[in-house]
């Protein structure tokens, strides 16, 4: 038996494997294959693997070896497939492991301090507490934006809950999801390079603080506070969280704890995905409140209740679930291997 005969003998199997690869690649055709054929696929794959392993001994010509390499590669990708989400592992990860990790996380505290630090300083400097810099907000935000802010809140919010009208609640909500969660994700992505992440955090903290301080001096303060109270807690915390997740990535390649930079980065990558999910959920929740409840004429106490409720949820998650209980934080079930 020589190479040509061997090739002829094997050609049928290889072609069959090739065809089955094409079928496995399409979801609809894969479902129609049936157990027997799929078992056969495994057998064909192993046979092709064996042929490839023995290619050298068989003295197969190079282009046949090349063909086998890509055939085995294609089949390998059909047999070893991506794993999808599992609810139970995610529950454990989200409510038992993650809060514990976040409570002790230094990036979390850093992001928290940067955002709220700049927020409070800017608010103080532009507020009416005997500020030594009376024109701070004007210099920072510009006259145009300030006038726009005043105009926006000149009228008290009057819509009934969820009413359509000029700017429907749904549109507003979708707009807030798009805009705010976009900022959050940008802040997260920027954190990978550390400085852009810190900048976006500080920038948002300063701007928001200045707006709050400035509005507190104006007669529109009532309307303003009626608008922002309900959704503030979720939205601002989500910014902090997105910044923290980003910085975690960024610091992982700076301080590697003995790993190589890329390995350290990959480890951090596994850890930040759940945080990312949480802050996206928070942004969406904030946008729902902001779109439907905040601009409505619902009584102020109801908005306060929502604010207190959302603060309570956050406190429960981060402080109660998160308070170190000595639970051994095991290897994340989301890890790749």
């Amino acid at each position: 038996m020589n190479v040509t005969q061997l090739l002829e003998a094997r050609r049928k199997n290889w072609h069959e494997l090739d065809e089955m690869c094409a079928k496995m690649e399409s979801r609809r055709q894969r479902r129609r294959l049936g157990a027997k054929r799929i078992v056969q696929f495994g057998a064909l794959y192993r046979a092709a693997c064996a042929d490839l392993a023995l290619a050298d001994a068989y003295e197969l010509p190079p282009n046949t070896v090349h063909y086998l390499h890509q055939l085995v590669g294609r089949a390998h990708n059909q047999i070893y497939r991506s794993r999808t989400f599992r609810v139970s592992t995610w529950f454990h990860e989200a409510f038992m492991v993650l809060p514990q990790k976040l409570f002790l996380d230094r990036c979390m505290w850093l992001s928290f301090s940067i955002f709220w630090g700049t927020f409070l300083i800017a608010m103080f400097l532009s507020g009416h507490w005997a500020s030594p810099f009376p024109d701070f907000a004007e210099a920072l935000l510009g006259e145009g934006m300030l006038n726009q802010m005043k105009e926006m809140y000149a009228e008290p919010v009057t819509r009934s809950v969820g009413e359509g009208g000029g700017d429907g609640g749904g549109v507003a909500m979708a707009n807030y999801v798009h805009h705010n969660a976009g900022i959050g994700l940008n802040c997260f992505a920027g954190g990978l390079l550390v400085l852009p992440g810190i900048f976006i955090l500080a920038f948002n903290g300063t701007m928001l603080g200045a707006v709050f301080g400035y509005m507190s001096r104006q007669e529109e303060w009532d309307n303003f506070s009626r608008f922002v109270t309900a959704h503030g807690a979720f939205e601002l915390s989500a910014v902090v969280l997105s910044g923290a997740a980003g910085l975690k990535l960024g610091f992982s390649w700076i301080s590697t704890k003995g790993l190589s930079r890329s390995a350290s980065l990959r480890n951090a990558g596994k850890e930040v995905v759940p945080i990312m999910c949480i802050f996206v959920v928070m942004f969406v929740a904030a946008a729902m409140i902001e779109g439907f409840l905040s601009p409505s004429a619902a009584p102020y106490w109801s908005k306060k209740m929502v604010a207190i409720g959302s603060c309570a949820v956050l406190m429960f998650y981060f402080a109660v679930l998160g308070f170190p209980k000595g639970i051994v934080v095991k290897e994340s079930p989301l890890a790749t291997r």
Partner: protein, 291 residues
Amino acid sequence: MAQSTDQLDTHIQIVTPENIAFRYQVAGPFRRLPAYAIDLALRVAFSTAVILVVVWISDYGLGDIGEAVWLLLFFLLSWFYGGVFEAMWNGQTPGKRWTRLRVLTFDGQPINASQAVLRNVLRAVDAFPALYVLGLITTAMNDRYQRLGDLVCGTMVVVEERKSLFGVTRINEPEVIRLAGYLPANYQIDRELSRALSAYVERRKTFSPGRRADVARHLSEPLRVRLSLPQGTDPDLLLCALYWRTYLAEVDPAAAPGPSSPQAPAAIPPVSMGVANDDEIRLAPPIHLRR
């Protein structure tokens, strides 16, 4: 556990759980560009279609709902399009499927959902400050063309080639077969030589006759001396004849015109197959296929 080992140009080697090493070609940024363009076009087309629907239903007083849905879809599309597709389609988006690319982990395993989502969210950094400049710099700085998102998730993009099988290249020139008859019967062709021969024969069709002689001379000159063939033997013919004897001789002995030489190819004992003799080939796992 799969592990990656040495790397040859853009090919990387992967060892599967079956303990088989096979090669992948890693896709560089410009190989990935068409896939990205296709995905972008799909996203734009889909958004436009949704806008048209929104405009249409706004005549029926549903404009607000339509606009809200459109904004949400736009948000999801711009941040999670790639992630969702790569998680569901085993590392491929429509663009990647079209251009036959696939995202795999560092060591050739399939990616999981969180890797798929994360590497696509981190696109925002790679696009920084504009036109994926940072991503281009990063891909240039490592040998698997990983952008920052890939580095964080430990993923890489590979080309899934679909070559067709050509089999053994045939040679039918009568001069080759005649020359093969003059080769000493006891000359053993070792594995490395036979591999070189088939590499040469597979490519020689694309060479001009002058180039063939040029390339073949380096190998055929020492061979000619060892086989004590007369000076002036065509280098290309000699390599082809050796190839013919290694790969083709036994299959079609009838094709060989019996030259007057006593060492006719038909009389040559079965060509040595290096280590692999008949028994070993039969040892290859038998495949029992049930219909």
